[in-house]
């Protein structure tokens, strides 16, 4: 089947039932997306499918063939970080860091839907588990990223 991952096309011969997570990690070596629970309870495996956050540990790969799949590897880079990644660094969010790929992908989905999420909206959207307890910094970083995106948009608007 044809998989479109991070803008690149891959031909995968994976079993149709294999969860997307394992295709990413074990076949394509995209190890930024993590395994945490296998039952969609922790969110460590969050990726975007056609722009929406999904928990890839319970999505059969055949269900997303042909759709646009985005993983943490293409959210941004060290040189050109996504505003959320910049905010994550500014707020010093990660500790062990294992859950953070999923956190960032969930937050990116939230910001795509709500440019300025309230605390209640963050509570509702960010159900990923973090054993190190980085939650208050995750919240602060989402607010910071939202403000920076708005700031950039205003500046660009002003220049236009």
């Amino acid at each position: 089947m044809q998989l479109n991952i991070n803008g690149q096309s891959h031909n995968s011969s994976a079993d149709a039932n294999m969860p997307l997570l394992w295709v990413l990690r074990d076949e394509l070596n995209l190890t930024g997306t993590k395994y945490g629970c296998g039952v969609a309870a922790c969110g460590a495996c969050t990726v975007h499918v056609d722009g929406q956050a999904v928990r890839s540990c319970v999505v059969p790969v055949s269900a997303v063939a042909g759709q646009q799949i985005t993983t943490i590897e293409s959210l941004g880079s060290a040189e050109q970080p996504h505003p959320l990644q910049a905010a994550w660094i500014a707020e010093q969010v990660p500790q062990c860091g294992y859950c953070q790929s999923g956190m960032l992908m969930a937050a990116a989905d939230l910001l795509a839907r709500k440019s300025h999420p309230s605390d209640a909206e963050i509570d509702a959207a960010m159900t990923n588990l973090c054993r190190c307890g980085t939650y208050q910094r995750v919240r602060a970083a989402i607010h910071r990223a939202a403000a920076s995106i708005q700031h950039t948009a205003m500046k660009q608007g002003g220049a236009a």
Binding site: A41, G97, R131, Y135
Partner: protein, 755 residues
Amino acid sequence: MKRRTWLLSALGATGALVVGWGVLPARSRRGSPALMLQTEGDIALNGWIKIAQDGTVVLAMPRSEMGQGVHTALAMLVAEELDVPLGRVRLEQAGADSIYGNVAMLLGTLPFHPLDSEGEQPSVKIKMGEWIVGKIARELGINATGGSSSIIDLWEPLRMAAATARASLVQAAAASWKVAASEITVTEGVMKHASGKAAHYGAMSAAAAGTTPNPVTPKSRQDWKLIGQPAARTDIPAKVTGQAQFGLDVRLPGMLFAAVRMSPMLGGAASSMDTKAALALPGVDKVVALDAWGGGTAGLAVVAQTTWQARQGAQAVQVQWQAPSTGAVDTTRIQAALLNSLNTESGFTFYEQGVPVQAEKAAASRIDALYHAPYLAHATMEPMNCTAQVKDGRVEIWVPTQVPQMVRAMAAKVAGVKEDQVTVHVTLLGGGFGRRLDVDFVGQAVQVAMACAGAPVQLSWSREEDMTHDFYRPMHLAKFQASLDAQGEVTSLRIKSAGDAISPRWMARAVPLLSGPIDMPDKTTSEGLFDLPYGFVSQHMSHVATQSGVPVGFWRSVGHSHNAFFSESFMDELAVATKQDPLAFRLGLLKEAPRYAAVLQKAADLAGWGKALPAGHAHGIALHQSFGSIVAQVAEVSLSDGHIRVHRVVCVIDCGTVVNPATVAQQMESGVIFGLSAALFGQIDIVGGVVQQSNFPNYPMVTLAQAPVVQTHIMASTRAPGGVGEPAVPPIAPAVANALFTLTGKRQRALPLKA
């Protein structure tokens, strides 16, 4: 020779040896340059520091990064002494020499009362104990990351190693420029002289190598530029782009994946196995019967082309499991047995003060309480895993571990090779919390790799295997008995607790050489009960060590994690019984412990203790010392729709000298959330040997929506550093429990707390 004479001469000879060894100076931890990895262009100046050609400082890093920020903080110590920016320090995994062993972690096992080391000088008893254990620890050189001890342990050796390296480099420059070393200044790794001469470290490293500088001392406090200032963690950029490499992210050419299925009964094994259906599945390569390694449970592993295929295969194997010969463990039965032990056995006395029996006889009234804490799993976000390759008589291991030497020993034992034929690569850890002080999964990985004809194999556990095959925090019970005089003053406090001792079980499976025929008293059972800062006139604390048969291990903050709940809840009970404010009651007993009183008072002040709160909200307070640091927390709690809601936690810590205050704040937040998950939800039940909780839906964690805001304050101090990775965990359960009492008038004496 008469037996008596023989004994005396034997004792005399041993004594002479011990004394002879004892008067030698303690083994130096600076180490020889030969201990460092020999790399092209880098020049080693001692066992810790190399200088690269471009002047970059390379630091040998023996400690594991599991979220506690230690790779940043330890690099800061070196950057400070060498006067280089933090970004100019590169880490390289340290080897297996004893200089990298963790002396402070072993010192932390000594059951001394912390108030005995509060003064300018610790007591003679403490000095003696630390001297002898310190010497032994330096000889043993056990490299472990745990016990909140990394900074405590390396604070002196790393600064000394870096200061010595700096002095050698400056001396080399002075000789080359024919100027006095004292006239050379160093800024950002560049040595300069007023004559205009300048060079970075790389230019002088060859000349500095092998020279012995005059004795150096680390910088004085007022000259620090980095220590004590918040520094951005160096590991964070890779952790936001998915590039950070955890154990499960290791990818090697030709690598296979193995899934593990262990006996559902702890300690059980397979009595028969039919592998036909499994081997018929796509991608499945082979099935390997697994022995029980390192105190773990036996089972099987399936090797396949991907983890998922391996897991499908593991489920497809038809297995008959059998219970261990010792019988299946059961938490209900264990709890009853613990209560019986508590009531019938005298236990080991860890602390006695005054004459408790006399006070108890003279008492006008008594307060009794029985507390309980359940078994807990670690539930690191990254489940247990290990990648191994066994080829040409050599073993190579990639593993997230807190104990690389034990990994090496386990791999050598399983593969039947010498330890020097084993190479261990320590990856980042997706959480440790004490679970990765065990190496059961390493034994499994090597056993599987041996069956894979030289191919590397990544062995990993599902969340379910991880949660049902942990080394659990042991269940504990504690009985409190306070005696009051006619005026309602507490005259005596007697505490007796019962539960499994962790250290002897861990020693037996991890360092069998050091494990004796009988269990020595284990400080971890009683820490948080025998070492209270409160000045009760009479006090007695004893512990009955049991052996339940459940695999038990070190769980973040260990004995403190439940004992603080017991002791700080009971302190509130005493305050209520004697009709005093919980803060005032504690302060009244802290007259001889001013640092503790100051931390407690600060937390109360910052939280607005005693001031009005929103309707339905209440404050709870707790104070606890662990791992050399004092923490007080005030939790603001409410009850709504049958849920306990913790809104805000003020957390004040006195951890002595602070290296990176940013990390300290992170660790306070982390400890509170970790402890809160346990306080609100944590419980492992075992029925017929089978752990009942298996994944996050039935072993829940605090979520973002449930997380309180944690406000941290760090007390200014010039004392030696204390630990920060664990001390914020213990106080949160009693702080919340004490607030719940204020809200409901009902005292909860068991964890997890109920709404």
